[in-house]
Protein backbone atom coordinates (compact mmCIF):
# COMPACT_ATOMS: atom_id res chain seq x y z
CA UNK A 1 0.00 0.00 0.00
CA UNK A 2 1.21 3.52 -0.83
CA UNK A 3 0.38 6.11 1.84
CA UNK A 4 1.33 9.77 1.54
CA UNK A 5 1.41 11.37 4.98
CA UNK A 6 3.60 14.36 4.23
CA UNK A 7 0.92 16.84 3.23
CA UNK A 8 2.51 19.46 5.48
CA UNK A 9 5.40 19.47 2.99
CA UNK A 10 3.22 19.56 -0.09
CA UNK A 11 0.02 18.12 -1.49
CA UNK A 12 -1.27 16.45 -4.61
CA UNK A 13 -3.14 18.68 -7.04
CA UNK A 14 -6.87 18.32 -6.85
CA UNK A 15 -8.17 17.00 -10.20
CA UNK A 16 -10.36 20.06 -10.57
CA UNK A 17 -7.28 22.25 -10.14
CA UNK A 18 -5.34 20.40 -12.84
CA UNK A 19 -8.31 20.78 -15.16
CA UNK A 20 -8.67 24.48 -14.42
CA UNK A 21 -4.99 25.21 -15.05
CA UNK A 22 -4.44 23.41 -18.33
CA UNK A 23 -6.14 25.85 -20.76
CA UNK A 24 -3.80 28.61 -19.55
CA UNK A 25 -0.74 26.90 -21.01
CA UNK A 26 -1.59 26.70 -24.69
CA UNK A 27 -4.96 28.36 -25.24
CA UNK A 28 -5.33 31.29 -22.89
CA UNK A 29 -1.63 31.99 -22.65
CA UNK A 30 -1.76 35.77 -22.97
CA UNK A 31 0.19 38.21 -20.84
CA UNK A 32 -2.25 39.74 -18.38
CA UNK A 33 -0.64 43.14 -18.92
CA UNK A 34 -1.27 43.12 -22.70
CA UNK A 35 -4.11 45.26 -23.94
CA UNK A 36 -5.25 42.91 -26.76
CA UNK A 37 -7.98 40.33 -26.32
CA UNK A 38 -5.59 37.49 -25.54
CA UNK A 39 -4.09 39.57 -22.76
CA UNK A 40 -7.46 40.67 -21.44
CA UNK A 41 -8.67 37.08 -21.34
CA UNK A 42 -5.73 36.27 -19.05
CA UNK A 43 -6.27 39.44 -17.03
CA UNK A 44 -9.86 38.45 -16.42
CA UNK A 45 -8.87 35.01 -15.16
CA UNK A 46 -6.23 36.56 -12.91
CA UNK A 47 -8.68 39.03 -11.38
CA UNK A 48 -11.35 36.38 -10.88
CA UNK A 49 -8.78 34.30 -9.05
CA UNK A 50 -7.79 37.24 -6.90
CA UNK A 51 -11.45 37.77 -6.00
CA UNK A 52 -11.97 34.16 -4.95
CA UNK A 53 -8.92 34.23 -2.69
CA UNK A 54 -9.88 37.62 -1.25
CA UNK A 55 -13.36 36.37 -0.47
CA UNK A 56 -11.98 33.45 1.52
CA UNK A 57 -10.23 35.95 3.80
CA UNK A 58 -13.21 38.35 3.75
CA UNK A 59 -10.86 40.83 2.13
CA UNK A 60 -10.96 43.09 -0.92
CA UNK A 61 -9.41 41.85 -4.17
CA UNK A 62 -6.96 44.75 -4.18
CA UNK A 63 -5.63 43.52 -0.84
CA UNK A 64 -4.31 40.29 -2.42
CA UNK A 65 -0.79 40.39 -3.89
CA UNK A 66 0.24 37.28 -5.79
CA UNK A 67 3.76 36.04 -5.07
CA UNK A 68 5.83 32.95 -5.88
CA UNK A 69 4.80 31.26 -2.63
CA UNK A 70 4.76 31.40 1.14
CA UNK A 71 8.46 32.11 1.38
CA UNK A 72 8.29 35.17 -0.83
CA UNK A 73 5.16 36.40 0.96
CA UNK A 74 6.99 36.16 4.29
CA UNK A 75 10.01 37.99 2.87
CA UNK A 76 7.84 40.73 1.38
CA UNK A 77 5.93 41.20 4.63
CA UNK A 78 8.96 41.41 6.93
CA UNK A 79 11.43 43.24 4.72
CA UNK A 80 8.66 45.28 3.16
CA UNK A 81 7.69 46.71 6.53
CA UNK A 82 11.17 46.92 8.05
CA UNK A 83 12.85 48.66 5.12
CA UNK A 84 10.50 51.61 5.43
CA UNK A 85 12.33 52.34 8.68
CA UNK A 86 15.97 53.07 9.45
CA UNK A 87 15.82 51.14 12.70
CA UNK A 88 13.28 49.57 15.00
CA UNK A 89 12.13 46.49 16.84
CA UNK A 90 10.38 43.39 15.52
CA UNK A 91 8.63 40.71 17.58
CA UNK A 92 8.33 37.14 16.31
CA UNK A 93 8.48 33.65 17.87
CA UNK A 94 10.95 30.81 18.30
CA UNK A 95 8.80 28.43 16.26
CA UNK A 96 8.45 30.21 12.93
CA UNK A 97 9.14 28.63 9.55
CA UNK A 98 12.69 29.32 8.25
CA UNK A 99 11.16 31.78 5.78
CA UNK A 100 10.48 34.01 8.77
CA UNK A 101 13.37 33.01 11.05
CA UNK A 102 16.08 33.47 8.47
CA UNK A 103 14.60 36.72 7.22
CA UNK A 104 14.57 37.99 10.81
CA UNK A 105 18.18 36.89 11.26
CA UNK A 106 19.11 38.97 8.22
CA UNK A 107 17.13 41.94 9.53
CA UNK A 108 18.96 41.69 12.86
CA UNK A 109 21.86 43.48 11.13
CA UNK A 110 19.80 46.64 11.26
CA UNK A 111 16.84 45.92 13.54
CA UNK A 112 16.32 44.47 16.97
CA UNK A 113 14.34 41.22 16.98
CA UNK A 114 12.62 39.52 19.94
CA UNK A 115 11.86 35.82 19.58
CA UNK A 116 8.98 34.92 21.90
CA UNK A 117 9.11 31.66 23.84
CA UNK A 118 6.37 29.08 23.61
CA UNK A 119 4.98 26.71 26.24
CA UNK A 120 5.06 22.90 26.16
CA UNK A 121 2.24 22.83 23.63
CA UNK A 122 3.75 25.51 21.43
CA UNK A 123 1.60 28.49 22.45
CA UNK A 124 3.05 31.95 22.87
CA UNK A 125 2.18 33.90 26.01
CA UNK A 126 0.10 37.03 25.38
CA UNK A 127 1.59 38.39 28.56
CA UNK A 128 5.14 38.02 27.24
CA UNK A 129 4.03 39.54 23.95
CA UNK A 130 2.67 42.63 25.73
CA UNK A 131 5.79 42.93 27.83
CA UNK A 132 8.04 42.70 24.78
CA UNK A 133 6.53 45.70 23.07
CA UNK A 134 8.79 48.75 22.99
CA UNK A 135 8.19 52.30 21.85
CA UNK A 136 10.03 51.49 18.61
CA UNK A 137 8.33 48.16 17.82
CA UNK A 138 7.32 48.29 14.15
CA UNK A 139 6.04 44.78 13.48
CA UNK A 140 4.67 41.68 15.18
CA UNK A 141 4.96 38.51 13.08
CA UNK A 142 3.41 35.41 14.62
CA UNK A 143 2.47 32.35 12.60
CA UNK A 144 -1.06 31.01 12.65
CA UNK A 145 -0.67 27.21 12.58
CA UNK A 146 2.72 25.71 13.21
CA UNK A 147 3.98 23.48 10.39
CA UNK A 148 5.59 20.92 12.69
CA UNK A 149 3.35 20.51 15.71
CA UNK A 150 0.08 22.05 14.53
CA UNK A 151 -0.32 24.61 17.34
CA UNK A 152 -2.76 27.37 16.39
CA UNK A 153 -2.00 30.78 17.87
CA UNK A 154 -4.81 33.13 18.96
CA UNK A 155 -4.71 35.63 16.10
CA UNK A 156 -7.66 37.63 17.40
CA UNK A 157 -6.06 38.36 20.76
CA UNK A 158 -2.68 39.09 19.21
CA UNK A 159 -4.37 41.45 16.75
CA UNK A 160 -6.00 43.36 19.57
CA UNK A 161 -2.70 43.85 21.32
CA UNK A 162 -1.12 45.04 18.06
CA UNK A 163 -3.97 47.47 17.48
CA UNK A 164 -3.81 48.86 20.98
CA UNK A 165 -0.13 49.70 20.44
CA UNK A 166 -0.56 50.71 16.77
CA UNK A 167 1.92 48.08 15.58
CA UNK A 168 1.55 46.24 12.27
CA UNK A 169 0.64 42.56 12.63
CA UNK A 170 1.69 39.87 10.15
CA UNK A 171 0.85 36.19 10.31
CA UNK A 172 2.27 33.28 8.30
CA UNK A 173 -0.91 31.33 7.65
CA UNK A 174 0.57 29.01 5.04
CA UNK A 175 -0.43 25.89 6.97
CA UNK A 176 -3.80 27.05 8.22
CA UNK A 177 -5.27 28.77 5.15
CA UNK A 178 -8.59 27.09 4.23
CA UNK A 179 -8.22 24.78 7.22
CA UNK A 180 -8.91 27.42 9.86
CA UNK A 181 -11.21 30.36 9.46
CA UNK A 182 -9.39 33.65 8.95
CA UNK A 183 -11.71 36.64 8.78
CA UNK A 184 -9.94 39.93 8.18
CA UNK A 185 -13.15 41.75 9.01
CA UNK A 186 -13.23 40.28 12.49
CA UNK A 187 -9.59 40.24 13.45
CA UNK A 188 -7.15 43.10 13.33
CA UNK A 189 -4.44 41.90 10.98
CA UNK A 190 -2.40 43.77 8.39
CA UNK A 191 -0.48 41.08 6.51
CA UNK A 192 -1.13 37.38 5.90
CA UNK A 193 1.08 34.91 3.99
CA UNK A 194 -0.59 32.04 2.15
CA UNK A 195 0.57 29.43 -0.36
CA UNK A 196 -1.21 27.22 -2.91
CA UNK A 197 0.74 23.98 -2.78
CA UNK A 198 -0.31 23.13 0.77
CA UNK A 199 -3.96 23.09 -0.27
CA UNK A 200 -3.91 20.91 -3.42
CA UNK A 201 -2.93 23.84 -5.62
CA UNK A 202 0.23 24.26 -7.73
CA UNK A 203 3.72 24.89 -6.34
CA UNK A 204 5.34 28.25 -6.92
CA UNK A 205 2.40 30.52 -6.21
CA UNK A 206 1.25 32.18 -3.04
CA UNK A 207 -0.11 35.51 -1.94
CA UNK A 208 0.28 38.18 0.64
CA UNK A 209 -2.82 39.82 2.03
CA UNK A 210 -1.95 43.48 2.49
CA UNK A 211 -4.59 45.43 4.34
CA UNK A 212 -5.79 48.53 2.52
CA UNK A 213 -3.34 51.44 2.89
CA UNK A 214 -0.59 49.36 4.51
CA UNK A 215 2.71 50.56 3.06
CA UNK A 216 5.44 48.11 2.04
CA UNK A 217 8.84 48.51 0.43
CA UNK A 218 8.66 46.64 -2.87
CA UNK A 219 11.16 43.75 -2.99
CA UNK A 220 11.11 42.55 -6.60
CA UNK A 221 11.58 45.51 -8.91
CA UNK A 222 10.41 45.80 -12.47
CA UNK A 223 7.02 46.60 -13.93
CA UNK A 224 4.06 47.88 -12.00
CA UNK A 225 2.33 44.52 -11.58
CA UNK A 226 0.36 43.52 -8.46
CA UNK A 227 -0.55 47.05 -7.36
CA UNK A 228 3.08 47.98 -7.76
CA UNK A 229 4.15 45.70 -4.92
CA UNK A 230 5.59 42.77 -6.87
CA UNK A 231 6.94 43.00 -10.39
CA UNK A 232 6.95 40.21 -12.96
CA UNK A 233 4.57 38.85 -15.58
CA UNK A 234 1.67 37.36 -13.69
CA UNK A 235 1.57 33.59 -13.24
CA UNK A 236 -1.98 33.33 -14.49
CA UNK A 237 -2.24 29.54 -14.77
CA UNK A 238 -1.06 29.09 -11.20
CA UNK A 239 -3.29 31.86 -9.88
CA UNK A 240 -6.24 30.10 -11.50
CA UNK A 241 -5.15 26.85 -9.88
CA UNK A 242 -4.72 28.52 -6.50
CA UNK A 243 -8.21 29.98 -6.68
CA UNK A 244 -9.71 26.65 -7.72
CA UNK A 245 -8.03 24.95 -4.75
CA UNK A 246 -9.55 27.57 -2.45
CA UNK A 247 -12.93 27.15 -4.09
CA UNK A 248 -13.08 23.39 -3.58
CA UNK A 249 -11.89 23.53 0.04
CA UNK A 250 -14.77 22.80 2.41
CA UNK A 251 -15.76 22.06 5.99
CA UNK A 252 -16.55 18.42 5.30
CA UNK A 253 -12.92 17.68 4.37
CA UNK A 254 -11.73 19.35 7.56
CA UNK A 255 -14.09 17.27 9.66
CA UNK A 256 -12.88 14.14 7.87
CA UNK A 257 -9.25 14.96 8.66
CA UNK A 258 -10.00 15.81 12.30
CA UNK A 259 -11.77 12.52 12.80
CA UNK A 260 -8.92 10.53 11.28
CA UNK A 261 -6.33 12.55 13.20
CA UNK A 262 -7.94 11.82 16.56
CA UNK A 263 -8.47 8.17 15.69
CA UNK A 264 -4.80 7.78 14.82
CA UNK A 265 -3.54 9.67 17.88
CA UNK A 266 -5.68 7.64 20.29
CA UNK A 267 -4.36 4.40 18.86
CA UNK A 268 -0.71 5.28 18.45
CA UNK A 269 -0.44 6.53 22.03
CA UNK A 270 -1.09 2.97 23.16
CA UNK A 271 2.56 2.31 22.35
CA UNK A 272 4.58 2.83 25.52
CA UNK A 273 6.90 5.83 25.86
CA UNK A 274 5.16 7.68 23.05
CA UNK A 275 4.30 11.36 23.22
CA UNK A 276 2.06 13.62 21.21
CA UNK A 277 3.93 16.83 20.39
CA UNK A 278 1.70 19.89 20.28
CA UNK A 279 -1.77 20.36 21.75
CA UNK A 280 -4.80 18.12 21.45
CA UNK A 281 -6.80 20.87 19.75
CA UNK A 282 -4.60 21.44 16.73
CA UNK A 283 -4.40 21.88 12.97
CA UNK A 284 -6.82 19.36 11.44
CA UNK A 285 -4.27 17.42 9.40
CA UNK A 286 -1.28 17.44 11.76
CA UNK A 287 0.04 14.58 13.89
CA UNK A 288 3.45 14.89 15.53
CA UNK A 289 4.74 12.12 17.77
CA UNK A 290 7.90 11.27 19.60
CA UNK A 291 8.96 7.73 20.34
CA UNK A 292 11.50 7.59 23.14
CA UNK A 293 14.83 5.79 22.66
CA UNK A 294 14.71 5.59 18.85
CA UNK A 295 15.65 7.96 16.08
CA UNK A 296 13.23 9.67 13.70
CA UNK A 297 15.08 9.25 10.44
CA UNK A 298 15.26 5.50 11.03
CA UNK A 299 11.52 5.38 11.69
CA UNK A 300 10.92 7.35 8.49
CA UNK A 301 13.23 5.13 6.40
CA UNK A 302 11.47 1.95 7.58
CA UNK A 303 8.07 3.53 6.94
CA UNK A 304 9.24 4.53 3.47
CA UNK A 305 10.28 0.93 2.80
CA UNK A 306 6.63 0.05 3.53
CA UNK A 307 5.36 2.72 1.13
CA UNK A 308 4.55 5.32 3.77
CA UNK A 309 5.86 8.91 3.35
CA UNK A 310 6.44 10.86 6.57
CA UNK A 311 8.85 13.44 7.96
CA UNK A 312 10.95 13.93 11.09
CA UNK A 313 12.58 16.71 13.10
CA UNK A 314 15.52 14.61 14.29
CA UNK A 315 19.06 15.99 14.32
CA UNK A 316 20.41 13.20 12.11
CA UNK A 317 17.93 14.05 9.39
CA UNK A 318 18.79 17.74 9.21
CA UNK A 319 21.54 19.23 7.11
CA UNK A 320 22.91 21.08 10.11
CA UNK A 321 22.68 17.95 12.34
CA UNK A 322 20.54 19.95 14.74
CA UNK A 323 17.22 18.87 16.16
CA UNK A 324 14.18 20.87 15.11
CA UNK A 325 14.07 24.36 16.63
CA UNK A 326 10.36 23.91 17.28
CA UNK A 327 10.88 20.73 19.31
CA UNK A 328 13.71 22.48 21.18
CA UNK A 329 11.42 25.42 21.89
CA UNK A 330 8.73 23.23 23.48
CA UNK A 331 11.46 21.72 25.69
CA UNK A 332 10.88 18.14 24.73
CA UNK A 333 12.80 15.81 27.08
CA UNK A 334 16.12 14.65 25.55
CA UNK A 335 15.04 11.02 25.12
CA UNK A 336 12.17 12.23 22.93
CA UNK A 337 13.72 14.97 20.87
CA UNK A 338 15.38 12.86 18.20
CA UNK A 339 12.55 10.35 17.96
CA UNK A 340 10.01 12.63 16.36
CA UNK A 341 7.75 11.76 13.49
CA UNK A 342 5.38 14.08 11.66
CA UNK A 343 2.42 12.63 9.81
CA UNK A 344 0.31 15.15 7.92
CA UNK A 345 -2.89 14.07 6.25
CA UNK A 346 -4.99 15.48 3.44
CA UNK A 347 -8.61 15.17 2.40
CA UNK A 348 -7.53 12.14 0.36
CA UNK A 349 -6.26 10.22 3.41
CA UNK A 350 -8.38 7.18 4.30
CA UNK A 351 -8.95 5.14 7.46
CA UNK A 352 -7.53 2.08 5.68
CA UNK A 353 -4.29 3.96 5.05
CA UNK A 354 -4.07 4.96 8.69
CA UNK A 355 -4.81 1.44 9.91
CA UNK A 356 -2.02 0.15 7.72
CA UNK A 357 0.31 2.88 9.02
CA UNK A 358 -0.61 2.10 12.64
CA UNK A 359 0.15 -1.55 12.13
CA UNK A 360 3.49 -0.96 10.40
CA UNK A 361 4.53 1.78 12.79
CA UNK A 362 3.98 -0.44 15.83
CA UNK A 363 6.27 -3.08 14.31
CA UNK A 364 8.89 -0.50 13.37
CA UNK A 365 9.01 1.06 16.84
CA UNK A 366 9.37 -2.36 18.42
CA UNK A 367 12.12 -3.31 15.99
CA UNK A 368 14.14 -0.12 16.48
CA UNK A 369 13.79 -0.32 20.24
CA UNK A 370 15.31 -3.79 20.11
CA UNK A 371 18.27 -2.30 18.28
CA UNK A 372 18.64 0.59 20.71
CA UNK A 373 20.88 0.65 23.78
CA UNK A 374 18.57 3.18 25.45
CA UNK A 375 15.57 2.72 27.69
CA UNK A 376 16.57 -0.71 28.94
Amino acid sequence: MKVYLDNGATTKLDDSVTKAILPYFNEKYGNASSLHSKGQEAKMALEESREIIAKKLKARPDEIIFTSGGTESDNLALKGVAQLHDSGHIITTKIEHPAITNTCKELEKQFEVTYLDVDKEGFISLHQLKNSIKPNTILISIMHANNEIGTIQPLKEIGEIAKEHKILFHSDAVQSFTKEDINTKKINIDLISISAHKIHGPKGIGALYVKNKTKLKKQILGGKHEYNLRAGTENVSSAVGFAKAVQVSNKKDIKHMKKLRDYFITNILKIKHTKLNGPKERLCNNINLSFAYIEGESIGALLDAKGICSSTGSACSSKELKASAVLEAIHLPPEYINGSLRLTMSKFTTKEELDYTLEELKKIVEKLRKLSPLGK
Binding site: I294, E295, S298, C316, S317, N338, P373
Partner: protein, 120 residues
Protein backbone atom coordinates in the same frame (compact mmCIF):
# COMPACT_ATOMS: atom_id res chain seq x y z
CA UNK B 1 19.54 8.68 -0.61
CA UNK B 2 21.12 5.48 0.74
CA UNK B 3 22.68 2.63 -1.25
CA UNK B 4 21.03 -0.79 -1.39
CA UNK B 5 23.74 -2.15 0.85
CA UNK B 6 23.10 0.45 3.54
CA UNK B 7 19.41 -0.34 3.44
CA UNK B 8 20.08 -4.07 3.68
CA UNK B 9 22.23 -3.73 6.79
CA UNK B 10 19.81 -1.21 8.24
CA UNK B 11 16.66 -3.22 7.64
CA UNK B 12 18.10 -6.63 8.42
CA UNK B 13 21.11 -6.25 10.68
CA UNK B 14 22.64 -9.59 11.64
CA UNK B 15 24.73 -8.61 14.62
CA UNK B 16 22.49 -6.68 16.95
CA UNK B 17 21.48 -7.37 20.51
CA UNK B 18 22.74 -7.25 24.04
CA UNK B 19 25.36 -9.90 24.90
CA UNK B 20 24.79 -11.20 28.43
CA UNK B 21 28.21 -12.88 28.77
CA UNK B 22 30.32 -10.22 27.07
CA UNK B 23 33.99 -9.94 28.04
CA UNK B 24 34.08 -6.28 27.12
CA UNK B 25 31.68 -3.44 26.41
CA UNK B 26 32.37 -0.07 24.78
CA UNK B 27 29.99 2.82 24.30
CA UNK B 28 30.48 5.88 22.14
CA UNK B 29 28.21 8.82 21.61
CA UNK B 30 28.14 11.19 18.75
CA UNK B 31 27.75 14.75 19.86
CA UNK B 32 27.06 15.95 16.36
CA UNK B 33 23.69 14.31 16.01
CA UNK B 34 23.09 12.34 19.17
CA UNK B 35 23.84 8.81 17.93
CA UNK B 36 24.81 6.28 20.59
CA UNK B 37 26.52 2.97 19.91
CA UNK B 38 27.29 0.12 22.27
CA UNK B 39 29.62 -2.72 21.26
CA UNK B 40 29.74 -6.10 23.04
CA UNK B 41 32.72 -8.43 22.64
CA UNK B 42 33.43 -12.06 23.46
CA UNK B 43 37.18 -12.57 23.27
CA UNK B 44 39.31 -15.72 23.25
CA UNK B 45 43.09 -15.91 22.67
CA UNK B 46 43.17 -12.25 21.72
CA UNK B 47 40.64 -12.92 18.96
CA UNK B 48 37.12 -11.59 18.64
CA UNK B 49 34.91 -14.64 18.92
CA UNK B 50 31.58 -12.89 19.08
CA UNK B 51 30.55 -9.32 18.57
CA UNK B 52 27.24 -7.50 18.70
CA UNK B 53 25.93 -3.95 18.80
CA UNK B 54 23.09 -1.79 20.01
CA UNK B 55 22.62 1.54 18.27
CA UNK B 56 20.44 4.56 18.70
CA UNK B 57 20.68 6.44 15.45
CA UNK B 58 19.82 6.93 11.83
CA UNK B 59 19.99 4.28 9.08
CA UNK B 60 23.63 5.16 8.36
CA UNK B 61 24.61 4.68 12.01
CA UNK B 62 22.78 1.36 12.31
CA UNK B 63 24.15 -0.08 9.08
CA UNK B 64 27.68 1.10 9.91
CA UNK B 65 27.41 -0.65 13.29
CA UNK B 66 26.34 -3.89 11.66
CA UNK B 67 29.14 -3.72 9.11
CA UNK B 68 31.74 -3.02 11.79
CA UNK B 69 30.65 -6.21 13.58
CA UNK B 70 30.81 -8.09 10.29
CA UNK B 71 34.37 -6.87 9.65
CA UNK B 72 35.53 -7.68 13.19
CA UNK B 73 34.45 -11.29 13.32
CA UNK B 74 37.39 -13.64 13.84
CA UNK B 75 39.92 -10.82 13.78
CA UNK B 76 42.64 -10.38 16.38
CA UNK B 77 42.24 -7.34 18.61
CA UNK B 78 45.06 -5.64 16.75
CA UNK B 79 43.51 -6.30 13.37
CA UNK B 80 40.16 -5.08 14.61
CA UNK B 81 41.68 -1.83 15.82
CA UNK B 82 43.05 -1.25 12.32
CA UNK B 83 39.60 -1.17 10.74
CA UNK B 84 38.95 2.36 9.61
CA UNK B 85 35.87 4.44 9.07
CA UNK B 86 36.80 4.36 5.40
CA UNK B 87 36.67 0.53 5.38
CA UNK B 88 33.13 0.70 6.72
CA UNK B 89 32.07 3.41 4.34
CA UNK B 90 33.58 1.55 1.36
CA UNK B 91 31.96 -1.71 2.42
CA UNK B 92 28.62 0.10 2.38
CA UNK B 93 29.34 1.53 -1.07
CA UNK B 94 29.66 5.11 0.11
CA UNK B 95 27.62 6.91 2.71
CA UNK B 96 26.16 10.32 1.89
CA UNK B 97 28.69 13.04 2.73
CA UNK B 98 26.55 14.31 5.57
CA UNK B 99 26.56 10.83 7.10
CA UNK B 100 30.29 10.09 7.01
CA UNK B 101 30.55 10.85 10.71
CA UNK B 102 28.28 7.88 11.42
CA UNK B 103 31.01 5.43 10.40
CA UNK B 104 33.51 6.93 12.85
CA UNK B 105 31.39 6.08 15.85
CA UNK B 106 31.84 2.29 15.58
CA UNK B 107 35.60 2.53 15.69
CA UNK B 108 35.43 4.62 18.86
CA UNK B 109 33.12 2.17 20.62
CA UNK B 110 35.30 -0.74 19.56
CA UNK B 111 38.44 0.96 20.80
CA UNK B 112 36.81 1.62 24.14
CA UNK B 113 35.64 -1.99 24.43
CA UNK B 114 39.15 -3.30 23.73
CA UNK B 115 40.70 -0.85 26.19
CA UNK B 116 38.14 -1.97 28.74
CA UNK B 117 39.15 -5.58 28.10
CA UNK B 118 42.87 -4.90 28.40
CA UNK B 119 42.37 -3.12 31.70
CA UNK B 120 40.77 -6.18 33.31
Amino acid sequence: MYTKKVMKHFQKPKNYGEMKDADAIGTAGNERCGDILKIYLKIKNNKIQKISFETFGCPAAISASDVLCELCKGKTLKQALNITAKDISEYLGDLPKLKQHCSVLGKEALKKAIEDYKKN
